[in-house]
Amino acid sequence: MRQHDDLFLDVLSGSFTRQVWVNVYHGSDRVAEDLRLEGWSLEWDLGAKVTASGSGTIVYESVAGESLVPVGTKGILSPFRARLELVMEISAGDFVRRVSLGLFRVTKVPEARDYTAHVNGKSVVVASRVAVSFLSLEEDVRRRGLRSDENPPSLASCYNEIRRLTGMPVEETVADASIPASTTWEAKQDGRLDAVKTLGEALGGTALVNSAGAWTIVPDEVGDVDGTLQLGEQGTVLDVGAEIDTDDVYNVVVGQFEDENRNPIYAVAVAPEGDLDPDGLYGENTRYYSSDFVKTKAQAESAVQSILDLSLGSRQYDVQIQCHVNPLVELGDVLELAGYSSPLVGQLRKVSMSDSPYMNVTLRVSRDL
């Protein structure tokens, strides 16, 4: 979760007032601050290559006849230079806190318009409306390709390699690891971002840019609980999706392979005794599998067994929750749904916010089968 204190959590669990502001940066210069954003939406997805995307319309009242509409490559909101920082202000009486939702790169201005009036016989811009689409800063790395295939200059540290590849700050959240030998970064579309994502996997997680604009690793392993989504008298949760899908829970895997001489090899793996036993109440759910790499009986046995394990091991499912807006939650947070019929702890995979007072989050929850 983003930085906060207990009082902030208290305020977020009750009634409060919220506002969203936008600051515009060109490089390290803040060229405009506290602009208003209308009809905005913002979505984070841990599974996406570029984890956050959003859009909105900046409405600007001109102070001295200036315009915010980008012209060519120039202009404060030009997608050729502008970075946006979205800030959410939460207030309740004297309590006021501002939370940065993150830094974003403007990628598109789908629509822009100036409003003019006559002053002293001259036409003057009185207001601008600029619609913007923006992506999180992974986009900077995605666009910047590798010019030729590269080997990491040193295999000692994944973090150092992320620093080298991105030129961006890195916050070390999990233990560093060495890079697998004979690693080559390919010069292909999105090659640099893929390289960083690969390093994230080597570190046991997902690499992403956090709200401070630094690369960080969200570990796959669900760790300690970071925060709570409350139901009940102090609750903020409006809806919890309770969906169970058994489509991909297979308890029998049938493998059909061929050896070097094209003789058929047949292998079956069956779930052990228990709730998923094909003789039990669940019944049989069969999956068929084949692969060109399997050439012996032993390989076939191990292949079907691993497919079965994967299927039975898919003990993770997503729970969608609608709740009051909470600017503190971040991708990868381990959240507890407290006061629910059964205890639920999961990792935050998706968040979407907009100018509505509600937000939707998706938690990935583990279940025991």
């Binding site: 009634s15 009242e61 102070v63 006849g65 409003y115 002293n120 008298e233």
Partner: protein, 465 residues
């Protein structure tokens, strides 16, 4: 206001050693002596070294004495650090001559204090009056008795003011010449507010003077009735020592307070100027488009105006699972919405001017009108000034058909921000000045400073006369 600070000897650092030794019992030097809270400013202070046990006294070099005239009031403020338990005093002394010779001492005013060993105290003299025949003035430090040794003093503020002015350093204290070897000018920005209640419409001339050289831009704020507005034309306005603007939006019959935030060339705030207040008295209400203040009309507000005042809060009452009462998820409260204003227009010309506020077939404007309520309708509880965004002004015939020309102008709108608040809508134009003066030399002869020309509003409208 500009205050001269004689913080250091104007002759320069080397001048200290040649300061006039009034009793042949002390010398002056620059010392790097340090103690708790000492020196006051910078890394060095002045040291007066008494060479014997009697009275030790140092003063200003003759040629550094400021000129003074009879009747001037002079004040002194100085921080003194005395390492030993002595009595130390300060004096202001007036002389008849000014310059190379010592001259005759006409009057001396003294103040002194007993010091504990190592104590730091402020010694001050407030507004002593120069006697007849005064031509120059100096300040002195004295030690009445004690052994040979040092007395330190620093942060000297010697000013021609009624009361002693504490020494101030920082960006607003500017050396008049070489650093540490000249006088300092301390700049205090000053507002001069001139109400013009008789003008149609009434306005305030706002002049901001004595801005320190470091100030590059200013933003002027007007506070009235508990609300603060940025003043039109003075938002991040570029200045060179002074600013002159007309405020057409100052509300009537209430104290309006002006102050300005100053910024240097990097856009860093240098703080606010002292504030100044004014009240513009007007019995009538006036209405204008902020982008065309000269198109203002005197209006009478009819019944139906501001009968309901509504300020909404955009809020969602949410009922999370398990809660018995709703949670209010709000956004900030909005200004007035759906405010009705009905205006009486006694003749067709007034009706035309009211209608022109929203533009016509050839000009485009922003449909925001500024309404300033006069004393006659002063009881109304609407914001002052009120900026009302109106989509249309409906004209209703009261007496036009009968040839009386009377109409009723009805509008309903939401409180809106004034458009392009940084834009100056000039009263005095270049054309006015060109029309009034035949040559450039005439202009130069008429005004001492550029800003004087800029604020000579007596010429306004001359080009069209």
């Amino acid at each position: 206001m500009q205050i001269t600070q004689y913080e250091k000897n104007p002759s320069g650092v080397s001048g200290y050693t040649s300061r006039v030794n009034r009793t042949a019992n002390a010398t002056v030097s620059i010392s790097s002596f340090t103690a708790a809270g000492w020196p006051v400013d910078g890394t060095t202070s002045h040291a007066m070294t008494a060479s014997g046990t009697g009275i030790a006294r140092v003063g200003t070099v003759n040629t550094d004495r400021p000129a003074a005239a009879p009747g001037d009031r002079w004040s002194l403020w100085v921080r003194v650090m005395c390492p030993q338990a002595w009595t130390v005093g300060v004096r202001i002394v007036f002389y008849d001559t000014y310059g190379a010779t010592t001259g005759t001492e006409l009057k001396a005013t003294a103040a002194s204090a007993s010091f504990a060993a190592g104590q730091v105290q402020t010694l001050r003299i407030d507004g002593t009056v120069a006697p007849a025949g005064t031509a120059s003035v100096e300040w002195q430090i004295t030690r009445t008795s004690g052994s040979a040794g040092d007395v330190y003093y620093d942060a000297v503020s010697f000013t021609k003011t009624d009361a002693a002015v504490p020494f101030r350093s920082g960006a607003f204290a500017v050396w008049d010449g070489t650093e540490n070897a000249s006088t300092q000018t301390y700049w205090i920005p000053t507002f001069t507010l001139t109400p013009r209640p008789a003008n149609e419409p009434p306005y305030v001339e706002v002049a901001l003077d004595d801005l320190p050289p470091v100030v590059d831009r200013v933003t002027v704020y007007r506070t009235a009735g508990g609300r603060e507005h940025e003043m039109r034309g003075a938002i991040n306005a570029s200045v060179a020592g002074a600013l002159s603007r007309i405020d057409w939006e100052c509300p009537f019959n209430m104290a309006a307070t002006y102050r300005a935030e100053m910024f240097d060339s990097d856009g860093v705030s240098l703080g606010f100027t002292p504030a100044a207040s004014i009240t513009v008295v007007s019995a009538d209400s006036w209405m204008h488009n902020p982008l065309d203040p000269q198109g203002a009309v005197r209006v009478r507000l009819l019944e139906g105006t501001a009968e309901t005042l509504e300020r909404k809060v955009p809020v969602t009452f949410s009922r999370p699972i398990g809660r018995r009462v709703a949670v209010a998820l709000a956004e900030p409260r909005q200004g007035l919405t759906g405010l009705a204003v009905n205006v009486y227009a006694p003749d067709v010309a007034t009706a035309d001017r009211v209608q022109a506020m929203l533009g016509d077939y050839t000009t485009t404007t922003v449909p925001v009108v500024c309404i300033r309520v006069g004393a006659r309708e002063g009881a109304m509880r609407i914001p002052r000034p009120l900026f009302l965004g109106v989509a249309s002004i409906v004209e209703k015939d009261v007496g036009v058909r009968k040839g009386l020309g009377i109409t009723r102008q009805e509008m309903v709108g939401d409180e809106s921000a004034p458009p392009v608040p940084g834009l100056i809508v000039p009263l005095l134009t270049r054309d006015d000045i060109d029309a009034y003066y035949a040559t450039r030399d005439d202009i130069d002869a008429a005004y001492l400073r550029r800003i004087d020309l800029d604020r000579d509003y007596s010429l306004a409208g001359y080009a069209n006369a």
